[in-house]
Amino acid sequence: MRVVGTSRRKVDAAAKVTGELRFADDLSLPRMLHCKLLRSRYPHARIVSIDTSRAEALPGVIAVMTGKELPIPFGILPISQDEHALAPDRVRFVGDPVAAVAALDEDVAAEACKLIGVTYEELPAVASIDDALANPEPQLHDYADDGNVHKVISLDFGDVDDAMAAADLVREDVFFYEGNTHLPMEQHASLAQWSTDGKLTVWSSTQTPHYLHRALAKVLEMDPAHVRVIATPNGGGFGGKSDPFGHEIVVAALARKTGRPVKIALTREEVFYCHRGRHPVLMWIRTGVKRDGSIVAMDFKSFLDGGAYGSYGVASAYYTGALQTVTYEVPAYRFRGIRVFTNKPPCGPKRGHGTPQPRFAVECQLDKIAEELELDPAEMRKHILQPADSVTANWLRIGSMGLGRCIDAVVEASGWKERHRKLPFGRGLGIACSSYITGAGLPIYWNSMPHSSVQLKLDRSGGVAAFCGSIDIGQGSDSVLAYIVAEVLGIDPLDIRVVTGDTDLTPIDLGSYSSRVTLMTGNAAIQAAERARDIISGAVSEKLGIPRDRVVFAGRRVFDSEDPEKGVSFAEAVQIAETRHGAIGATGSYRPPRSPGRYKGAGVGPSPAYSYSCAVAEVEVDPSTGIVRVPKVWIGHDIGQAINPLLAIGQVEGSVYMGLGEALMEEMTYRDKQRHVVHHHPSMLEYKSITTHEMCDVETFLIEDPDPNGPFGAKEVGQGPLLPLPPAVANAVYDAVGVRVDEVPISPQAVLRALKDKMRGKEGRHGPARIPDYAFPEPARILTPAQGGTGREADERAHSEVGGER
C-alpha cells in the first residue's frame, strides 16, 4: 500500500488553515433574511395564546411564524416522532422554541422576538429520575412506556442467578455519571433557499444530511425529490449535530413563506438548549467472578435522565447495556434499564453514545474486584478478555480483538508494574479498558438499502471525482475517501476531488455518527474504485496487449507488472477506456453483515467490527484541595489498520482530551430554583472544559489487528479512545489517595468528601448510595450461544422497534 497507512495532510488542510473553508454561517445569499427564535422561559407550560401582531408591525420584519404553521411532528427515531419545529401548544424545557421571526437583519429579528406576546399556563416540572418516577402525571409525552418513563428495557441472557451463585466473589456497586454536552466550537447554523419552481435547498451544519432531508420532506409535506440538503463542513459535531433540529425546519418554512433565503445562526446559549448530549446515568452493577477474576455473571441496571424529548434516547438506553460483553467474557448477563422524560434540554448521542457511563461502572468495579482478589488489575483484565472471532452472550459477533496488545503496550510504557500501588501518597496510576462499535449495524429507519454509497467520475484529464453523502465533521472523512480511492487507482489523493454531503449530488451515506464512516464509506469506495479500475484495466490490457492480470495501477501510471516500462500514465489509461467505453463512472455500496441477534433490542450493539482501547492515567491529587491533576495518559487503541496514522493519533488525542474533561469537570447542571430545571450555566466560561493548561501529555500506541470487515482492515478511532479515560482517572485517584469517587465528574468537592469519609473511619467513598426502587418487568429470556440459543427470545415472541430482524 502506498497511500493507506502513511501519515499525510488532510485533503482540506489548506482550506482549513487559510480560513477559506466555508462553514454554514459563512454563507450568505442576495436578499437573505435573518431568523431568530423566541424560546420558552418556562420548563413546562401550556401555551394559551400567542400574539404576534406587534412583532409583525415592526419595520424590517418580513414574517413571523408559530407552531400552528408546522403541525407535523418529527424526531430522529421513527419510534419517537415527538418534536415540533416550534411548540404548537406546549413547551417542555427552558429553551424550547415557540416562535420565529424572519427580518432584514439579526437585530430587528431579535427585537421582534421581544414583541411576541405568549401567554403560558405553567405545569409542574419534572426535574430528575426520582421526580419522573414519583410523578407519572403530568406526562411529558403520551407515548411513554409508563408515566414519565419513556422506555423500559429488561433482558436476560443465560442463567444469571445460577451463575452468580457459583461465583467466588460477588460485588455490588452503584455509580453515577453526570450529563455533559458536546460544546462544538461552531454554533449550529442553517441557510434555506426557496426557488419559485417549488424546490428547496438547505445548507446546514449537520452530521446527518440524509436524516435531515427526510425530516424536512415530512414536516414541510414536500416531495423528497424537491428537497436538497447540503451539509456544510461541521465545526465540530461529537454527536451534537446528528438530530434534525427545529431551527433547520423553521428557516426552510420561512424561506417558503417569504420566497427569500433565510439564515439562522444560533447563539452559544441556544447551542446549550439544543444539547442532545451525554445522558446523566445512575447505575447499579452486580458482578460475580472466580478467584482468578474471570467473570461468571453480570447483572446491570441503568437509569437515564433523558430530558424533554426522545431524540436518540431509546438507542442510548439500549447502548448503556449493549457493549459490556464485548470487552470481557461475560457468560451470563442481565440488563435492565429505563430512560425517563424530564423538563430539561433533551439528551442524545455524544461521542461514545450511551457507553462511557456503563464503562465507568464496569471498569471501576473491576478495579475494586482486583483489589479484593489481590490481583494486578492490568493482569486480571488480560486474562478475562472476550476472545476474537466469537459471539457474545448477547449475540454480538466479534471479529478482530487487539485489546491484549493494547494492555501490554500501556503497561510497559507507563512502568505500571514498578509504579502501581508503589507511588508516594498523592500520586497514582489507574487502568481501564473499553470497546466500541465501528458503525451501527442497522440504519435508523428500517430499510434494506446500502448504508453508504460512493460514485466515481473519471475523465480524460486524469482527475477523479468521488461523490459520497458522508460529511466531514473534522474527523477527516473527506480525506479517508480520497486516500482509499487513490490507493486503489494508484494515483495521488491530490488528483481526487471529493464532493460530499449533498443530497442532490451525492449517493446516500447515513451520516457521521456511530463511528461508521471510515468502515462503511471506505468499503463502498473500495468497491467503486475497483469497478473503475476493472473498466480501465480491461481497456488498457486490450490496447497495449498486456495480460489483464498483469495490469498494475501505481504511481499515477498503469503498466505491466512484469515490464513496468510498458504502460501509460493514469490519464492516458482513462483516455483509452473513455475511447473504448464512453464516459467512465462506477459506483460502490456497503451494507453491514447481518447480526445473529434476533430478540427485541438486538438492533443496538451489532457492528461490522469493534475497536478496543486501554488507557493508563497518572494523577496527582492534592489532599488539601481535592484537585486532581493528570500529567500523563498512555493509551493503546486497536484500530485494525490506520488509514492515516497522523489523523488516527489526532482522533485518539482528541478522545483523551474529551474523556479527561468528562472525568474531571464537564457537566450539564441545573439550578436549585424552579426544581433544578433552569440551566446552570449555558456559556463556555461556566461550562468547564479542558484548556491548554489542564491538557495532559498523551503517548498513543496504535495497535493494528486488521478486521476482515474493515477497509484494508480498518476499525474506528473517533470515539472508542474516550471511553477508558474516566474510569482510569477514578482508579488512579484511588491509587493516589485511597478513596473511591464513584461518580463523574471527579470534582475537587467529590474527592474531599471521599477523603473526609475515610477520615471518619468509613470506606472512603463518594458516590450515589442507592438506585430507585423501580419494578422492572420480567426480563425477556434469551439463551446464549453457549447454551445453544438461536438469538431469539426463548418464547419466540414477535418484536419490532429496534429488533435485529424485521
Binding site: K16, V17, T18, M185, R268, V656, T692
Partner: protein, 169 residues
C-alpha cells in the same frame, strides 16, 4: 405578559471609518454598536474569522490589532479605526502558506478547522514576541483559545515546528 416595548425601531446611526485589514484600506459605513467581528465578517466578507460564543469566552474570533491578539467579538469596530488589523486571510501569500499555517496543516493541528484561525493568530503574536517559546509559554499564550477536537497537543507541536522554521529562515 407582554412587555410594553416601543414598536418603533431604535434610531440607527451610521459611522464612517477607515479600517486597514491585512494591509488593505477599506472605507466602511457601519452601525456604531457593531463589533470588529461583525464588521470583518459582514461588512468586509472576511469570514475566515469565526465566532464561538460572542462573549469573549473561547478565543475563536482572535485577530491581531497592531500585532496584539484581541477578541474581535468584544471589540467595538469603532475603537479600531485606523489601526493595523490582521486576520487569517492575510497570513498566506502567493508563494504559499505562512510557516505557522503550514505546520498546522502538516501536523494535523486543524481537525474541524473552526478554531484554527484564532489559534493561528494567537500563535503568530506569540512567535513575533518570542521566537523560541517553551511548551509552557505556548500553553500560556494559547490558554484563551478553546479547541474541542485536537486536545491541543498537535497545536503545540505545530507552533514548535513553525517556530523552528521561522528561526531557521
Amino acid at each position: 405578559m407582554t412587555q410594553p416595548i416601543s414598536i418603533e425601531p431604535p434610531v440607527r446611526r451610521t459611522l464612517h471609518g477607515t479600517f486597514t485589514v491585512n494591509g488593505e484600506r477599506h472605507e466602511v459605513a457601519f452601525a456604531p454598536h457593531k463589533t470588529l467581528l461583525e464588521l470583518l465578517r459582514e461588512d468586509l466578507a472576511l469570514t475566515g474569522t469565526k465566532h464561538g460564543c460572542e462573549l469573549g469566552e473561547c478565543g475563536t474570533c482572535t485577530v491581531l490589532v497592531n500585532g496584539m491578539p484581541i477578541l474581535s467579538c468584544l471589540a467595538l469596530a469603532r475603537a479600531h479605526m485606523n489601526q493595523e488589523i490582521e486576520t487569517v486571510e492575510g497570513m498566506a501569500s502567493a508563494s504559499g502558506l505562512h510557516p505557522i499555517q503550514d505546520a498546522f496543516a502538516k501536523l494535523g493541528a486543524a481537525q474541524c478547522g473552526y478554531c484554527t484561525p484564532g489559534f493561528l493568530l494567537a500563535a503568530q503574536a506569540l512567535l513575533a514576541e518570542n521566537p523560541d517559546p517553551s511548551r509552557d509559554e505556548i500553553k500560556e499564550a494559547l490558554g484563551g483559545n478553546l479547541c474541542r477536537c485536537t486536545g491541543y497537543l498537535k497545536i503545540f507541536e505545530a507552533v514548535e515546528l513553525a517556530a523552528k522554521e521561522l528561526r531557521e529562515r
